[in-house]
């Protein structure tokens, strides 16, 4: 079988020295692949060791020497009869390394070079209005930062009383929490499956519930609302935002001793004894709170049924009608939440004198610069994606029941540090305490509410955005007004609102338009050299590392 191919070699001067043993196709090709030879574009193994004539110029290429090869192989003769196009196509350059090409090594084939190059394969064009709608998240966050700064300036210039700031802030937080909780219980009660952020929130809630086994037999108490989270006793509530939520809400609850018996006649004794004296605003707040809370569940005859109604389907793993132990555990959760909330409250109160003198040796200019940069960090590193609740238990195979951790902890930490250093500029302990508490509400709890509001309904989201823009504009307008005006500079506030709205609209529309305009510069290159992205289905959790 070999001699004919040897002839082939002598007849065809090769591009290189070719001492390779000429194999005959019939001996090498697997039986199953014979059928492929009918396909004219398919390569056969013999292409590897049947070098064609030396050839440098593709245009002038004439397939010399093929006659000897064809004569030597009867098999090929038959095939040449059937498909003449195949023999012409075989001259073509092939992107294969095992084939002895009849082209020089640096030959670049116009047809196949970079044929697999993809440009911008995954680009989807942006639309204007969805882009504007998405940018509202950023506007919301920037506005809340502005409101915080405005409040600080107001406190610093002693235009507003710190107590009123923290009082109104806490009131708003409490209202927000009620709303949030109502949404949660409502949605869970509807029995809709958990999707997205809400589902993760629910799972997290049930996890904390599981963590605290019910050792105490206590009746349900409080406002008849479920308290899905238990806060760990720590002053740095940045590590666990939901815990901060509940803590502050509990702070508010703690200020409601006169109303509590009305709602929960058989409440736990330990929790109702707390009274924070001397806060007139909080009293008024508490009364409104109680009204609001009663409004949320107006037609519930007893607290116990309400609790059952609300608490029951809180976690997805929980049966619809909870057992008494579940209710008791809820009560226990509430009590421990209250405990930790008290602890946070008093720790803040105790730390306030220390915070007050924290940066006494530092000049104010450094503080302004530092807090500016910290707030910039907060804005830039904030997680606007709305999916900040991820399981951090990445090591485990399950991973779904991991501990909740905000991704944007850098952002929150920066904001709280900014508020701390800003608070340390304030002269009195009460002011320091108020500002710190307010910052926890603004930077720790408010983003959770915003995120949930966005998830819940577009209407809430838009109205919240408008509210925030108006508030920020008005605040800036008032703060920029001169001091000696006396009373509230309403005019400036209105002007600020107008300007704020104008700026927000211009920024949102302009940035969206700009981004769409920039898309024409996009040039992503993908090709076979890029590492493939493996698709693995049997493992749910996949860390890209």
């Amino acid at each position: 079988m070999a001699p004919p191919s040897g002839l082939h070699h002598s007849a065809v001067p090769s591009d290189f020295e070719t001492p390779y043993p000429p194999l005959v196709r019939s001996s090498t090709v697997p039986a199953s692949l014979r059928s492929h030879r009918a396909d004219p574009s398919h390569l056969a193994p013999e292409d590897a060791y049947a070098p064609l004539s030396p050839h440098r110029h593709p245009g002038a290429y004439v397939r010399g020497g093929d006659g000897s090869g064809t004569d030597a192989r009867p098999r090929r003769v038959r095939r040449d009869d059937t498909s003449r196009s195949r023999s012409r196509r075989r001259k073509r350059f092939q992107k294969l390394l095992w084939v002895k090409q009849s082209y020089p090594d640096n030959y670049t084939d116009q047809a196949t070079f970079l044929e697999n190059l993809q440009r911008n394969p995954r680009v989807r064009p942006y639309d204007f209005w969805p882009l504007v709608a998405d940018s509202t998240v950023i506007v919301q966050h920037v506005c809340s930062v502005i409101i915080f700064v405005v409040c600080f300036v107001g406190i610093f210039q002693e235009r507003v009383s710190p107590v009123s700031v923290v009082g109104w802030g806490s009131f708003a937080t409490f209202l927000g929490w009620l709303l949030w909780d109502w949404w949660v219980s409502h949605e869970t009660h509807e029995g809709s499956g958990d999707d997205g952020a809400r589902g993760r929130i629910m799972r997290g809630g049930s996890r904390t519930y599981r963590e605290y086994r019910p050792p105490l037999q206590q009746d349900s108490s409080g406002l008849g609302q479920s308290m899905p989270n238990v806060s760990t006793v720590s002053i740095s509530s940045t590590s666990n935002l939901p815990s901060a939520t509940s803590s502050t809400s509990n702070l508010l609850q703690d200020q409601l001793p006169p109303h509590r018996p009305l709602q929960a006649p058989s409440s736990a004794a330990g929790s109702s004894t707390l009274l924070v004296p001397g806060h007139a605003p909080s009293r008024s707040v508490s009364s409104v709170n109680s009204i609001a809370s009663q409004g949320t569940n107006p037609n519930s005859p007893t607290t116990t049924t309400t609790t059952t109604h609300r608490l029951g389907p809180d976690g997805p793993d929980q049966p619809p009608t909870p057992s008494p132990t579940a209710r008791n555990s809820r009560a226990y959760v509430r009590v421990s939440t209250i405990k930790s909330a008290i602890l946070i409250y008093f720790t803040l109160l105790g730390l306030s004198p220390i915070l007050k003198s924290l940066t006494r040796s530092t000049s104010s200019d450094s503080i302004w610069a530092m807090s500016f940069w910290l707030l910039v960090i907060n804005i830039f590193f904030f997680d606007y994606s709305g999916s900040s609740w991820v399981g951090s238990g990445s090591g485990g195979g399950g991973g779904t029941r991991g501990k909740r951790m905000p991704v944007a902890s850098l952002s929150t930490n920066a904001a709280l540090m900014a508020s701390t250093v800003l608070a340390s500029r304030l002269p009195s302990t009460g002011q320091v305490f108020s500002l710190t508490l307010f910052s926890i509400e603004v930077f720790g709890l408010f983003p959770v509410f915003r995120q949930y509001a966005r998830h819940r309904s577009r209407r809430y989201h838009v109205s919240l955005t408008v509210l925030l823009v108006l508030g920020a504009g008005a605040g800036v307008g008032m703060v920029l007004g001169d001091d000696d005006a006396g009373g509230w500079p309403w005019k400036r506030g209105l002007l600020g609102m107008l300007v704020g709205c104008l700026i927000a609209v211009l920024a949102m529309g302009g940035c969206a338009w700009w981004l769409i305009g920039l898309q024409k510069y996009k040039n992503e290159i993908y090709g076979p050299w890029d590492p493939a992205r493996p698709i693995i289905i049997s493992r749910r959790h996949w860390d890209d590392d």
Binding site: S32, L43, W98, P104, N106, G527, P528, W529, R533, P534
Partner: protein, 488 residues
């Protein structure tokens, strides 16, 4: 008589460190020496390897003392290598500087200095890079700098060529594709006769067919790879239990080590596969063949690969190859030796199933693979093709012949600054033109580097004049083998 050259191979990666680039340099140098050229190797000092060393075949290795940064890549100090490099080059009367591996800063610096000194430069790229992440962008910029003024580039596969052309904005005609090769004698199947003269193969009868596999014979699947993410170990971890579940009479042998080994072990324990999956841990390159011949199928789940020498080695050992269709892998082996899979768990399982079925049906004549691979890939061939590149850049073969007629005729379409054999100018201003086009800021920075390099060169000429540097005696050159036919 064809010209012979004095060639300096420069790379951070060389023995005693094992690896693909290292053996490439060694094999290529050996074969070039066999063809009558003089080859020296410049690398950085390894632990216990310093100074000048001769390998057993007379290959001279300079171990330059350099600070090693990461995975034996030296610290990039753009100019500090120049004095000693110039000394070596003058001492050895080097004509061509050939750098290897894109992550080797020694190689890039050597190319820069060699051009400053007026030498011809060749660069061989062994790896693929993306364009997306920051590290790749940085590496690509550096590559652009170093390859702005290089005479020729060699890539190990067509995919690698496309990638390098894009990364460094090169003229595609400046880039040759010369694949890696294997030493087929070191990767013989188990029952293969030790010495088969290639010349007498015409009279040699093909090796006897293997004993056909019955339906209940054990089929062994071998995996030899470093267990990293980009080697597809995650795919492997996901696929092994399913393959073993679908095919009862199969087992795995896995050799190699890496950070993903723990995942594999976890998978073995979770699925209780201790008796069907054997993990050998890290093995040396000499042992690869001994592991390979224990199996029937070689599974290569890599996610990116410029060439994939290991699948050639596996095919040479007579293994049926199942591999992912990524990078340059589809170019490497003919389709009757391989089963391709998409880099997906399902497809990998299915492809392995097809391979097992084909083996069980005895449709694949793996005993013939060795001779076929031997005829496809040899280092002698690689050396010949590399020699043609040397001839092309040194002007031994004409420009029209080297680059093709159409390129010369259409010379107006090529930029004047881009080098061409014979036209490639060493004048500083021409070199600066080439570097200036690298980018708005980078171009100016690169020009600055080149000017500084040139000034250093002038200073070195003054401080250490050429005539004061000893010329070292050459190792006796081998007689050039008479080819009869001259390459090119």
């Amino acid at each position: 008589m064809a010209p012979t050259y004095n060639i300096a191979m420069v790379s951070d990666f060389f023995f005693p460190q094992p690896g693909g680039v290292e053996s490439h340099i060694y094999q290529l140098s050996t074969k070039l020496r066999d063809r009558g050229h003089k080859v020296i190797i410049i690398t950085h000092a390894y632990k216990g390897r310093t100074g000048v060393r001769y390998l057993t075949n007379g290959l001279k290795v300079y171990h330059v003392p350099f600070f090693v940064l990461y995975r034996s890549a030296s610290f990039p100090t753009v100019f500090s290598f120049f004095p000693i490099f110039r000394n070596i080059v003058l001492r050895e009367r080097i004509d061509i500087v050939h750098g290897h591996a894109s992550l080797s800063s020694l190689c890039h610096e050597a190319i820069l200095h060699a051009r400053t000194m007026g030498l011809r430069t060749v660069y061989t790229d062994h790896s693929l890079f993306g364009f997306a992440d920051a590290a790749s962008i940085f590496a690509n910029k550096l590559l652009k700098f170093s390859l702005s003024d290089v005479d020729h580039v060699i890539c190990v596969s067509h995919t690698c060529k496309e990638n390098t052309v894009l990364r460094a904005s090169l003229d595609p005609l400046m880039v040759s594709v010369i694949p890696n090769a294997v030493v087929a004698e070191n990767f013989r199947p188990l029952d293969h006769p030790a010495e088969t003269s290639a010349r007498s193969f015409g009279d040699h009868h093909p090796p006897p067919a293997r004993r056909p596999l019955g339906p209940h014979d054990m089929i062994t699947i071998v995996v030899i790879s470093r267990l990293f993410y980009n080697k597809g170990t995650d795919l492997l971890t996901a696929a092994i239990p399913r393959i073993l579940e679908n095919h009862p009479h199969t087992r795995f042998i896995i050799a190699g080590d890496g950070p993903k080994a723990i995942d594999l072990e976890q998978m073995i324990e979770q699925n209780v596969l201790q008796d069907r999956v054997e993990m050998l841990g890290p093995i040396r390159h000499e042992e690869v063949r001994d592991v390979m011949v224990r199996g029937h199928i070689y599974l290569h789940p890599s996610l990116t690969e410029a060439f994939g020498t290991v699948i050639v080695e596996a095919a040479s050992c007579g293994l049926y190859v199942v591999c992912t269709q990524v990078g340059g892998i589809p170019e490497v082996l003919p389709s009757h030796m391989t089963v391709f899979a998409k880099p997906e768990e399902d497809d990998l399982v299915a492809a392995t199933g097809r391979a097992i079925a084909a083996l069980r049906a005895n449709k694949v004549r793996t005993e013939l693979f060795h001779e076929q691979v031997k005829s496809m890939y040899s280092w002698t061939n690689v050396a010949m093709r590399t020699e043609r590149v040397y001839n092309g850049i040194c002007g031994a073969i004409s420009e029209a012949e080297f680059y093709g007629y159409d390129a010369v005729n259409g010379a107006g379409s090529w930029s004047a600054a881009r080098g061409r054999s014979g036209v490639q100018s060493f004048a500083l201003i021409d070199r600066l033109k080439r570097y200036y086009g690298c980018g708005i800021w980078a171009g100016k920075l690169f020009c600055l580097c080149v000017i500084v390099d040139y000034l250093i060169f002038l200073a070195l000429e003054l401080l250490f004049p050429r005539d004061k540097i000893d010329i070292c005696p050459d190792w006796p050159r081998k007689e050039r083998k008479v080819d009869g036919k001259e390459a090119g």
